[in-house]
C-alpha cells in the first residue's frame, strides 16, 4: 500500500517539475511527512530507474557534489497517469464509504 503511494508521489514530483534532483524530492516528501529517513528514497529511485520509468543526467554543481537530475521516461509518464487515476478512484471510493459511515 504505502510502497505504491511513495512511488506515485515520487513520480508526480518529478513529473510536475520536468527535471529534479534527489534533494528536491526529499524536501517535498519530508514536508509532506511521507518519509521519516532520507535513506528510504535512494533504493526506490534506483529501482524506478532500473525499471526504466526514470532517466537521469549528471550535472556539475558549484556548491557540492555532482547532481543526478531525474526526469520521467515515456513509460514513467504512462505509469504516473495510471497511478493517478487509480489513486483518484480509490480516494473517491473510500470517501464515499466514510461519508456513508458518518451519516449512519
Amino acid at each position: 500500500m504505502r510502497k505504491g503511494v511513495l512511488e506515485l508521489c515520487i513520480l508526480s514530483i518529478i513529473g510536475k517539475r520536468d527535471e529534479v534532483y534527489a534533494s528536491d524530492i526529499l524536501h517535498e516528501l519530508k514536508q509532506a511527512q511521507l518519509i521519516v529517513v532520507e535513506g528510504t528514497l535512494y533504493p526506490l529511485l534506483t529501482r524506478l530507474k532500473n525499471d526504466e520509468l526514470l532517466s537521469y543526467r549528471w550535472e556539475e554543481s558549484k556548491s557540492g557534489p555532482p547532481r543526478k537530475y531525474y526526469r520521467l521516461t515515456e513509460s514513467g509518464q504512462q505509469l504516473l497517469t495510471e497511478l493517478k487515476n487509480g489513486w483518484n478512484e480509490l480516494v473517491t471510493a473510500v470517501e464515499q464509504i466514510i461519508k456513508i459511515e458518518n451519516q449512519a
Binding site: 534527489a22 521519516v36 532520507e38 557540492g64 557534489p65 547532481r67
Partner: protein, 529 residues
C-alpha cells in the same frame, strides 16, 4: 587534540575526526551489507554517499573545517538506519516490528571474547552456550587428523567479524532495537574509552620521558605503516583467495576425475587382467544397493565438502567479502558431520556382518597313493572360465571375478602342500566365511562351491571357486591342503598354467611348478631333476 583523516565523498574532500570517521565507515559498511544482495546496490550507496556529502557541506558551512562525531551522528539520523529504509516487502506486513526484533541470529566472529580469532566465541554466542565447550570441541577435533584446524581456518576466513553494535547484538540473537543498541553501545564506549585512557596515559608518560617531539612523527609513521600493512593484507587476501580457489578446484577435479576414471577407464588395466569399479565393489560389499549408494554419497561428501569450503573461501576472499551464500558454511559443516555419522553407522552395521567366522573343513579323500608313477595334478575341465565377466582386484593377494550377469563371484583357491605324518595322502578342503551370526557364517561357507575331481592317481582342480554374489564379500576363502607322504612324487600338469587368465600371484605361483615333477621332503616339495 584529535587526529583527523581526509576523505573523499562523491568527489568532495572532507577532514574528519578519527572517531567520526570510524562511525561513518561503520555506517557505510552496514548499508553495503543491507543492500548487498539487491540489484543496483552500488548505485544506491553512491547516491547516498553523494547525499552525505551534500548534507555535510551544508552543516559545515564556511567556518568549520572538520567533520565531528556530532555531524556524522546527525546525518546518519537524517538518512536513517538501513532497516528504517525498508519500504518494500516489510512495510506492508503488520508484524514488522516483531519480525525485526525476532530476527534470526547470525554467525559472526566475536572479537571481544576471542582467544585466537573469535571463531569459537562467535559460535558459542550463536548457540548461546559457553565458549569453553566449543573450544574443547575444536581441540578434541585436532586429534581427528587435524580436521578441527582446517575447519577453524576456513571459518576464520569466511565468517565476518562482529564489528558494529548491531552485529554484536545479532550475533547473540538479541533484538536490534533502540534500547538494546543504546545499552550495548554505551557499554562498549565505556570499555573502549577506559582502555584508551589507560593506554593513552601510559603512552603519554613514556613518551614524555623519552622523546616528546617524536610523537607526531611516530603517529604519522604508524599511520603510513598501517595503510601499507592494510594494503599488503588485502593483496595477501587476494593471493590466498586464488590459492584456495585453485587448490579447491584442483582437488575436486582430481577426486571426481579419479572416480570417473576408476569407473569408466578402469579397463585400461585390463592389459594387466583386471579392472576395479568402486560402484561394483560397493554393491558387493554393502548389504543393499541403496546402502551402497548412501555410503558412496556420504564418503564423497566427506571428501568434497571441505574442498567446496576451500573454493567458497577462495571466492569470498577474491571478492573482498562480497561473495557470500547465507548459511553455506553452517549447512556444509552440518552435512559433513551428518555424512560422518552415516558412514560410521553403515560401517558399524557392516562390520557386524563380519563378526563371526565359520571354518568348514571336509576331508575329500584319504588314501595310499599308487606308487608306480607320480600323482598327477591338473586343471579340471572347467566351464566357469568361459562365463567370466568383470574381474577386479580386491587387494594384492586376491583377485575377484564375476560371471557375466554378476550373480556369482569367483576367486582362486589357495593350495598348501604339507608332508604327511604317515603313508596316507590326505586331501582336505577348507571353506571359510564370515557373518552376523555363526549360522549365517556357516550358510555362507556352505554356499561356496568348489569340487575337485580325485582318483587314486590324479587330482583335477577347478581353477576357481565360486559363491553367490548375494552372499556379498564376507571373507569367503577356499584352501586345499594336501598332506603328501614323504618320498611321494607329484607332477603338475601344464594345464594349470593358462596364459589367458588374469596375471595374479595365486596363479603365477603355478608357473613355477607346472611341467615338472616334485618330491615331498621334510622341508616341503622339492623339484626332481
Amino acid at each position: 587534540m584529535k587526529k583527523t583523516f581526509t576523505i573523499n565523498l562523491s568527489g568532495l574532500i572532507f577532514h574528519i575526526d578519527e572517531d567520526a570517521y570510524e562511525r561513518l565507515q561503520d555506517y557505510l559498511e552496514k548499508l553495503k551489507r543491507h543492500f548487498g544482495g539487491k540489484t543496483g546496490s552500488d548505485e544506491i550507496i553512491t547516491d547516498i554517499e553523494s547525499r552525505m556529502a551534500e548534507l555535510l557541506q551544508e552543516r559545515l558551512g564556511d567556518q568549520k573545517q572538520v567533520v565531528s562525531m556530532a555531524d556524522v551522528e546527525h546525518i546518519i539520523a537524517q538518512l536513517g538506519q538501513p532497516f528504517e529504509m525498508e519500504t518494500e516487502e516489510t512495510a506492508e506486513e503488520p508484524t514488522h516490528a516483531n519480525t525485526y526484533s525476532r530476527r534470526s541470529k547470525r554467525l559472526f566472529r566475536d572479537p571481544d571474547r576471542r582467544k585466537i580469532a573469535g571463531v569459537a566465541a562467535g559460535i558459542a554466542a550463536y548457540l548461546s552456550i559457553d565458549a569453553l565447550w566449543i573450544r574443547l570441541l575444536f581441540i578434541l577435533s585436532l586429534f581427528a587428523s587435524g580436521a578441527g584446524l582446517l575447519i577453524y581456518i576456513v571459518l576464520w576466513i569466511v565468517l565476518p567479524e562482529a564489528l558494529t553494535t548491531a552485529e554484536k547484538l545479532e550475533m547473540k540473537g538479541e533484538a536490534v532495537n533502540i534500547s538494546n543498541l543504546e545499552k550495548a553501545m554505551r557499554k562498549e564506549v565505556n570499555e573502549v574509552s577506559d582502555k584508551f585512557n589507560t593506554y593513552a596515559k601510559g603512552a603519554h608518560e613514556s613518551f614524555k620521558k623519552k622523546v616528546p617531539e617524536a610523537t607526531n612523527f611516530f603517529d604519522r609513521l604508524i599511520g603510513v605503516l598501517g595503510h601499507v600493512l592494510r594494503a599488503l593484507v588485502k593483496i595477501a587476501g587476494v593471493l590466498l583467495g586464488f590459492v584456495l580457489l585453485f587448490l579447491g578446484l584442483g582437488l575436486v577435479t582430481g577426486f571426481v576425475g579419479g572416480l570417473v576414471g576408476l569407473e569408466g577407464f578402469g579397463h585400461l588395466w585390463e592389459a594387466e587382467g583386471f579392472r576395479f569399479s568402486p560402484l561394483l565393489f560397493g554393491d558387493l560389499f554393502f548389504e543393499s544397493k541403496s546402502l551402497s549408494s548412501l555410503a558412496g554419497l556420504s564418503i564423497s561428501l566427506i571428501v568434497l565438502l571441505p574442498l567446496l569450503l576451500l573454493i567458497y573461501a577462495g571466492l569470498h576472499l577474491l571478492s573482498a567479502g562480497r561473495f557470500r551464500l547465507s548459511h553455506f558454511v553452517l549447512v556444509s559443516i552440518t552435512v559433513w558431520f551428518a555424512s560422518w555419522l552415516v558412514v560410521v553407522g553403515i560401517g558399524v552395521s557392516t562390520a557386524f556382518d563380519f563378526r563371526h567366522e565359520n571354518r568348514h573343513e571336509s576331508m575329500l579323500k584319504e588314501f595310499v597313493p599308487a606308487s608306480d608313477k607320480p600323482l598327477l595334478i591338473a586343471a579340471a575341465d572347467n566351464t566357469t572360465m568361459a562365463k567370466l565377466g568383470e574381474s577386479f582386484m580386491l587387494d594384492d593377494e586376491r583377485l575377484l571375478m564375476l560371471n557375466q550377469n554378476a550373480s556369482q563371484i569367483f576367486d582362486f583357491p589357495r593350495l598348501r602342500f604339507l608332508p604327511s605324518e604317515d603313508s596316507l595322502l590326505r586331501l582336505r578342503l577348507i571353506s571359510e566365511a564370515r557373518g552376523r551370526s555363526l549360522s549365517k557364517a556357516e550358510d555362507r561357507s556352505l554356499n561356496v562351491d568348489y569340487q575337485p575331481v580325485i582318483t587314486d592317481s590324479s587330482l583335477h582342480l577347478p581353477m576357481l571357486y565360486g559363491y553367490p554374489a548375494a552372499d556379498l564379500l564376507r571373507g569367503q576363502r577356499v584352501t586345499i591342503t594336501m598332506e603328501i607322504p614323504l618320498g611321494e612324487e607329484v607332477f603338475f600338469d601344464s594345464s594349470l598354467y593358462n596364459e589367458n587368465l588374469p596375471n595374479h600371484r595365486n596363479y603365477r605361483y603355478f608357473k613355477r611348478y607346472t611341467g615338472k615333477t616334485w618330491v615331498m621332503t621334510p622341508q616341503g616339495l622339492t623339484e626332481v631333476k
